[in-house]
């Protein structure tokens, strides 16, 4: 009998590991930080997820809020959507509990958080898991995407126009947990430093340009040129824009119409969203209600008789960023913008009228409106601004931020009477939910 008991006890001891090891419990239908990246394929998929996050309709609306909101604020569109809270954008009278202000902020950070996960989790994986330099390419591309989302957050919510301001945004460079939710705003200078440093990593490590719907070295350079421009580093911006132009990976489309009729095959796109025949139905992911939105004040006047107008809007309906033929992609950056950045950079950094006109005229001539007739650098600046609006309206806030940079926004939009209105309020839930931000940290004019 005793022996039998011993046998039973032994049996239990042997099986007890299986029986007692109950706390390790990874979800079978979800991935967790511990197992989400185990090899190169996983790392690529996670990186790919950043683009999914930008294009997903169900979680936030990065891909089309960045068309609607700045356009409504500057007046190239007349409204964001129906309803009183959406109306606050066109009226430039935002309240800090505006739900779209909350969502815009949220999605920038959703993207930023996923890039942080890509960087952290891919870095932690052994080099031997990767072929060639894939590991650094993945990390490099993630840095580009982090720079993009950080820059977007900064220019919508931080005093991006004032290098000495303390009112930057919350910088996130680590995967976030509820435990680490509290973080203070950084200064504007710190934000720019972070963005530039990320872009420098991307310029060094991101993959070469292959498709317009993914980040690349070229995209990183292009974005850096744009960031430098916002920083007032005009000469550097012009030089870098020129580098993108001359490196030749991208080329201007022969005419304006074909820029937007070739979808993801457009030759001048540097960064855009991927769309195909399934995209509209997947997740009901289409841009709806783009009728009745064209700006009704200064914008039609400016566009009047411009050959680009019919490809930009039709009556009150937006067509440029809602082209059904190519499944309505969103455009973040394209080569034409580099020409305009170069022109703006040169004009503001003391270049000659002639030098500064060259890149501008390339764009004007493609649009078949002939060379600029500016006779002074100030006139040229006006032409550059008008050209940005006509060429890049609805594209990733180009029109809105140009109006701020060229100091024209108060003239164009009488409802804007203070630079406080250049940026949005920090959303309510950030102030209530973030222990390191209080009401006194709110952007001026929104307290």
């Amino acid at each position: 009998m005793k022996k039998f008991i011993v046998y039973i006890c032994t049996l239990f001891l042997v099986s007890s590991c299986e029986l007692t090891d109950v706390l390790e419990n990874d979800p079978p239908n979800n991935l967790v930080p511990e197992n989400v990246v185990k090899n190169e394929r996983d790392a690529k998929a996670l990186l790919n997820g950043v683009y999914s996050t930008i294009t997903l309709r169900s979680i936030a609306h990065y891909y089309y809020y960045t068309e609607l909101i700045p356009s409504a604020m500057v007046g190239t569109m007349s409204r964001v959507a129906a309803g009183t809270t959406a109306g606050q954008f066109a009226a430039n009278e935002l309240l800090f509990d505006n739900p779209d202000v909350k969502n815009l902020w949220l999605m920038f950070y959703k993207v930023m958080d996923l890039t942080n996960n890509v960087i952290t989790l891919t870095s932690a994986l052994d080099d031997s898991e990767f072929s060639g330099n894939t590991k650094s390419e993945i990390i490099g591309e993630a840095h580009f995407l982090r720079a993009m989302s950080t820059f977007d957050a900064l220019r919508y919510y931080g005093q991006f126009f004032d290098q000495n301001s303390n009112l930057g945004i919350v910088l996130r460079t680590e995967p976030v947990n509820f435990v680490t939710r509290n973080k203070a705003r950084s200064t504007v200078a710190e934000c720019y430093t972070q963005i530039i440093s990320d872009l420098d990593v991307a310029i060094a490590d991101a993959p070469d340009f292959s498709v317009a719907y993914r980040g690349s070295k070229t995209a990183a350079k292009a974005l850096k040129a744009k960031v430098l421009l916002y920083q007032g580093k005009y000469a550097e911006a012009a030089a870098l824009a020129d580098e993108v132009i001359t490196e030749g990976t991208r080329s201007l489309a022969p005419d304006f119409e074909s820029v937007f009729s070739s979808g993801i095959n457009s030759t001048e796109m540097i960064l855009m969203t991927y769309r195909d025949e399934n995209s509209d139905t997947d997740d009901n992911n289409r841009k709806r209600f783009y009728t009745g939105r064209t700006g009704t004040t200064w914008f039609p006047t400016l566009m009047d008789s411009d050959p680009r107008a019919p490809f930009t809007y039709s009556g009150s309906t937006i067509v440029k960023v809602n082209n059904e033929e190519v499944y309505r992609p969103t455009y973040f950056m394209r080569l034409a913008e580099m020409y305009l950045i170069k022109a703006e950079g040169l004009a503001y950094s003391g270049a000659t009228l002639e030098d500064a006109s060259i890149p501008l005229n390339i764009i004007r001539n493609r649009a078949e409106i002939g060379d600029s007739e500016a006779t002074t650098i100030d006139e040229l600046k006006d032409d550059i601004f008008n050209e940005i609006v006509r060429e890049l309206a609805f594209e990733n806030g180009a029109d809105w931020f140009a109006a701020i940079r060229f100091n024209k926004v108060m003239t164009l939009k009488p409802t804007i009477t203070s630079s406080n209105q250049y940026i949005l309020p920090i959303p309510e839930n950030e102030i209530f939910g973030n222990g390191k931000i209080s009401l006194t940290d709110q952007n001026p004019g929104y307290e």
Binding site: L19, P27, V32, A45, Y109, Y213, N434
Partner: protein, 1148 residues
């Protein structure tokens, strides 16, 4: 007749004796063994005594202490002044006693272990001695050997012999005999000159010797320190067989609130033990069935939005929870652990209390015995009365006439073309006349000397009150345990049950109330008729839809126990809880969910099929130690480790496109199909212990604790400790109360401890990723923000109580006070957007419950043939939300937006009803004009407000003061769904074989919003329902002004049906839940039917009447079984039924 019966007695006696001799039960063997031992006890036992100058009394006490002898004598026998010094070593008792009593004149006789002392004077009157003889039998008439028969107020008495017989010499002054036996009620019988006294004892009432189940063990009731409610299992089995286990617990134990949220057969009841603690988590208690934790959640996969959230709505109704699978007939005992000291041993899952259930065991050395029962029940639902076609027509004509709306519809009402010619009673159309429930139970139990078994089968076939609704269950129970050797025990318990739940659509009851009676079921084309003014299909069409869910539940456990040393045992148990659900729904093309609409006609039909599987394995190891030191220090300790692993998975497929009703499987869908699958798991590893110390049965101390490690929390936060302590003082054991005859037992208890709650999703703390795609390649996106600090909700509970038993256990009771403070209650918290997420589940709330409980039991009549005992319990619980994250608080301090309505506010109870305050009906136009004149806008409520409309109170305005108008700002808290008091009353009357049991349940002060009543008596829009309840026949008119039903007016311009206090009712009630009359045939009768041991027949009436002023169908109505925030809304769900049962129980 009498003569014949009398002459049969001798035969009966003989028969009994024969039968008895045949029995080889261990019990009798033991008794025989004892008898043998007794005969020689006096010879074998040697007595050693060394005493200096002590009284007789002290000497006898010393002998009783050191030997097993007991002395019986009249007090006057012993001379209290006489003192002796003694010194014996290993002497025979005979010799010792002779020496002690030498010269005192006292003589003694030794019977077994009893020594009877006689005074000299009794000896002298030997010739006049009166001898009393008799027999003590149990409730079944079987002899009770070993019962004590004593003359009251004396020490003279004997134990009954093997045949339950006794013989006593009556002392001169004795008037009463007292008969006691462990586990039976003590009886006193007046002698009154009788010389033969036969006594039948009734079981049970000696509650102090009752053994009470507690976590990982059992204790004697007298040694209990915690607050544990013991359910009298008879009160459960007395109820109609249609009543499920959780429902049957209603009114049984103080502090346990049970309400029937849904009368659908097999649906879970809402149980709250000492209040609602959790906001997001479950508030249902943890069930522990034969040591296996069981959570009362539905096994229907919730899924996504498919079928208009069908999965979710079925699960919320509490269909197919494992508790519904348990056959009450298999249950031996139920304990409800209420306070922290009792529940803390279940640690992180005990905050809502624990219900411990053990199933029946066999008996050692018992011949196979069979118990069988059959019952037949019929039910009739309690529903509302609605208008017939003629009343319907006239009501709508009045409504249109009183209104100001003029359109095609109102024209057609006035000219009569709107109405049909039918007179359909929709309830009758979808309800069979008398749904029948048949229940069969058969169990067999018995055992050999070392092995015992109990096995049973139960078949329950229940028809619901609606056609094709019902609940069929087959349950099998098998318990086996064996003593392999003196030190080794082994056994297993297996409970398998299969339930087939057929449920109707949750909204069908309301639909029968709302659907117009003037149209036929089918129109001339043979399709289901419908109303042009109402969006839904007719009730008969909807009744063709079915929701079927089959559940296979297996609770199986295997244990082995080894005695390592005296009092030290180690036990290991492995258990499996397996729950397999197979759900099937079909909504034909002519139902609304099946795509039908009154504009487009038939849709495609919708079908859904899902399977769920839940497995939970438990490995428990316990070490128990019991030791009594120096007669006074009793130690009991349990130390254990438990490892639990749960896995739950489901797959689901759904489709559209079913053009006939035969092929309803998903593959037959012709339009569209889709599917989903999900799996989740969790683990719990726990270490626990309990230490009981009992000093001299006077002072009791319990220390208990559990360390739980749960996979539901981040690694840093995985472990938590749940300690508890309790102390009790049995005041009645103190010397100063020893002489107070009235007090049998008096115990003061106090306890303090901590419990937890972790019944929420398995991966709530984790950062989660899910798959997606981009540019034709797979991608991974974030789907949940991690919360490394997520932890259990913890509840600190303080408890004081007083247990008492008075007047020879005639009156006993328990009085208790508790305070439960829950902190870190889970609730949605706002996260800063810079985390990429806008909200998360976090520990942000605090709740509090305090309460008082009283339980009383009394024997009103206690005689040989007639007993009547009453039980009463009452509880009061005050619930409060003490803290909530203020993230979502509105400017008015309320939290809103919960599914099903309801509000939360700090400092208020959970489940507030919020709306306008009403002040009766306007009786005159002058009244309205006066208010309109005083209003800044010239209108108080509505420009078309008329007499007969509800008058709302002006409570506030934009400036925070009444502004003379009725606006949104005039809303306030108008009700609270929680009862002020609740409880139950039980009564059991036995007269010979006849037993009449009644159980009442009641609640006082629970308020209910008659959401449906507002719509069922107003005529706002036909789209809210066309037909009305008969209450509108009593609607306000200038001639009928003393009514609460507003005037009949189409369009309801005053918005009378808005959420207001006019429709919030005090739903206090008193319900006769069970009335049971049973008759057990006596031994004499059974003797004629040779093979039967027991035979009883019974009739039961369930929910016979309810006294309430609540106008709805059921004052116990509650929105959903596990949603406390919206509890105060009566949505007219599946009605509760009146049940009549009749049945027969046999034992052979």
């Amino acid at each position: 007749m009498k003569i014949i019966n009398l002459s049969n007695i001798a035969d009966v006696e003989a028969f009994k004796f024969d039968l008895k001799m045949k029995l080889t039960s261990l019990f009798l063997l033991l008794v025989l063994f004892q008898l043998n031992a007794n005969n020689s006890y006096a010879q074998k036992t040697k007595v050693s005594l060394k005493l200096d100058r002590v009284t007789f009394k002290q000497i006898l006490a010393e002998i009783e202490n050191t030997t097993e002898f007991n002395f019986f004598y009249e007090n006057a026998t012993l001379n209290p002044d006489r003192k002796l010094s003694l010194n014996f070593k290993n002497k025979d008792i005979q010799k010792v006693l002779s020496q002690i009593f030498r010269g005192s004149g006292i003589t003694f006789e030794i019977y077994n272990r009893q020594i009877i002392l006689k005074r000299p004077d009794t000896l002298q009157r030997d010739s006049q001695q009166i001898e009393i003889t008799g027999q003590v039998t149990d409730e079944a008439g079987e002899p009770l050997p070993g019962a004590t028969v004593l003359f009251k107020d004396s020490n003279i008495g004997v134990s009954t012999d093997f045949d339950g017989k006794f013989k006593l010499v009556k002392p001169e002054r004795a008037t009463t005999l007292v008969i006691t036996y462990v586990g039976y009620q003590t009886q006193e019988i007046l002698i009154e000159g009788k010389t033969v006294i036969n006594v039948q004892l009734l079981p049970g009432l000696d509650a102090l010797n009752e053994v009470v189940l507690i976590g990982y063990g059992a204790v004697k009731k007298e040694a209990l320190t915690g607050s544990v409610g013991v359910v009298d299992i008879k009160n459960i089995t007395n109820q109609a067989p249609t009543v499920s286990l959780d429902n049957a617990l209603q009114g049984q134990v103080a502090g346990v609130y049970v309400s029937t949220a849904n009368g659908q057969p097999g649906a879970a009841a809402k149980i709250r033990i000492r209040g609602t603690t959790s906001l997001l988590g479950s508030n249902q208690p943890l069930y522990v069935i034969d040591g296996i934790p069981v959570v009362a959640n539905s096994n229907i996969p919730v899924g996504g939005t498919e079928g208009s959230n069908l999965g979710n709505s079925l699960a919320q109704e509490g269909l197919s929870t494992p508790v519904g699978n348990i056959n009450t007939n298999d249950i031996e005992s139920i304990s409800i652990l209420k306070d922290a000291s009792a529940a803390a041993i279940y640690g992180s899952r005990a905050a809502n209390g624990v219900i411990i259930i053990n199933t029946k065991q066999g008996v050692f050395s018992g011949e196979p015995k069979f118990d069988a029962s059959v019952s037949l029940s019929t039910q009739s639902p309690k529903t509302l009365d609605v208008l017939n076609a003629a009343q319907f027509k006239s009501a709508w004509v009045t409504a249109v006439e009183n209104g100001t709306i003029n359109n095609a519809y109102t024209q057609s009402v006035l000219d009569g073309t709107y109405f049909g010619t039918a007179d359909t009673n929709w309830e009758d159309e979808i309800s069979p006349s008398a749904p029948i429930t048949t229940v069969y139970n058969l169990s067999m139990y018995g055992g050999s000397k070392k092995t015992r078994y109990n096995t049973s089968i139960g078949v329950n076939q229940q028809e619901g009150v609606y056609d094709q609704s019902g609940f069929d269950r087959y349950s099998f129970n098998m318990n086996l345990d064996s003593e392999v050797s003196d030190i080794w025990k082994i056994g297993s318990k297996i409970n398998v049950s299969f339930a087939d739940q057929q449920a109707k659509d949750g909204g069908i009851t309301q639909l029968t109330y709302s659907y117009r009676p003037d149209i036929p079921v089918l129109n001339d084309e043979g399709t289901y008729s419908y109303s042009s003014q109402y969006s839904f299909e007719n009730p008969v069409a909807r009744a063709q839809a079915y929701n079927n869910n089959k559940t296979l539940l297996l609770l199986g456990s295997f244990f082995t126990e080894l005695t390592l040393a005296e009092g030290l045992k180690i036990k290991s148990m492995f258990a499996l809880n397996y729950n397999n659900g197979n759900q099937n729904s079909f909504y034909p093309k002519f139902t609304f969910k099946g795509g039908w609409s009154r504009f487009q006609g038939d849709g495609d039909g919708y079908a859904q099929e899902s399977r769920s599987r839940f497995t939970n394995t438990v490995w428990d190891n316990t070490l128990t130690y019991t030791k009594l030191f120096a007669d006074k220090h009793q130690f009991d300790a349990v130390l254990g480790a438990s490892f639990e692993k749960s896995k739950s998975s489901n797959t689901k497929a759904w489709g559209e496109g079913f053009f006939n009703d035969v092929l309803t499987n998903i593959t037959s869908a012709t339009v569209y199909t889709n599917g989903s699958s999900f799996e989740t798991g969790s683990g719990l590893s726990s270490y626990f212990g309990r230490f009981n110390y009992d000093f001299d049965r006077k002072y009791l101390l319990t220390l208990a604790g559990r360390i739980d490690g749960s996979s539901k929390f981040a690694s840093d936060n995985q472990y938590a400790f749940f300690p508890a302590a309790a102390a009790a003082w049995r005041i009645s054991e103190e010397g100063f109360l020893a002489d107070v005859d009235a007090i049998d037992d008096l115990k003061f208890k106090i306890s303090l401890g901590k419990t937890g709650q972790q019944d929420f999703s398995d991966y709530a703390w984790r950062t989660l990723f899910e798959t997606y795609d981009y540019g034709g390649d797979p991608s991974i996106i974030l789907s949940q923000l991690g919360n490394d600090q997520l932890k259990w909700e913890t509840t600190n509970q303080f408890d004081i109580g007083l247990d008492f038993s008075l007047f020879n256990h005639r009156l006993s009771g328990e009085l208790g006070y508790y305070s439960k403070k829950t902190k870190d209650a889970l609730f949605t918290a706002i996260t800063p957007g810079s985390t990429g997420f806008s909200s998360i589940i976090a520990n942000v709330g605090d709740t509090e419950n305090t309460g008082v409980e009283l339980m009383l039991k009394g024997d009103v009549i206690r005689t040989q043939n007639l007993t009547w005992n009453l039980g009463f319990n009452i509880s009061r619980n005050k619930n409060k939300l003490t803290k909530i994250s203020d993230d979502f608080l509105g400017d008015d301090g309320f939290l809103t937006g919960f599914p099903g309505g309801g509000r939360l506010k700090e400092g208020s109870p959970i489940g507030l009803i919020y709306g306008y305050a009403a002040d009766g009906l306007f009786q005159s136009q002058d009244e309205i004009d006066a208010l309109n004149t005083a209003s800044p806008t010239g209108t108080y409520q509505n420009s078309r407000t008329s007499p007969g409309d509800v008058r709302f109170k002006d409570i506030s305005g934009p400036d925070g003061v009444p502004d003379g108008r009725i606006t949104n700002l005039d809303q306030q808290v108008i009700g609270n769904a929680q009862a002020d008091f609740f409880g139950g009353i039980t009564s059991n009357l036995h007269y010979k074989g006849l037993t009449l049991s009644a159980m009442f349940t009641y609640a006082v002060g629970n308020e209910l919003q008659a959401f449906s009543l507002a719509r069922d008596t107003n005529f706002g829009s036909t789209f809210l329902g066309e037909n009305k309840t008969t209450d509108v026949l009593n609607a306000w008119t200038p001639e009928n002004s003393s009514t609460s039903i507003p005037r009949i007016v189409y369009g309801d311009p005053n918005d009378n049906d808005r959420l207001s206090s006019h429709y919030v009712y005090d739903a206090s009630y008193l319900r006769l839940k069970t009335l049971n009359l049973s008759y057990s045939f006596g031994k004499k009768f059974l003797a004629n039917i040779k093979f039967l041991d027991k035979l009883s027949v019974y009739v039961i009436g369930q929910n016979l009447f309810t006294i309430t002023s609540y106008p709805g169908a059921d004052p116990e109505a509650s929105n959903l079984y596990n949603n406390d925030i919206s509890a105060g809304r009566d949505n007219n769900r599946f009605p509760v039924s009146k049940v009549f049962s009749t049945g027969i129980r046999l034992g052979f």
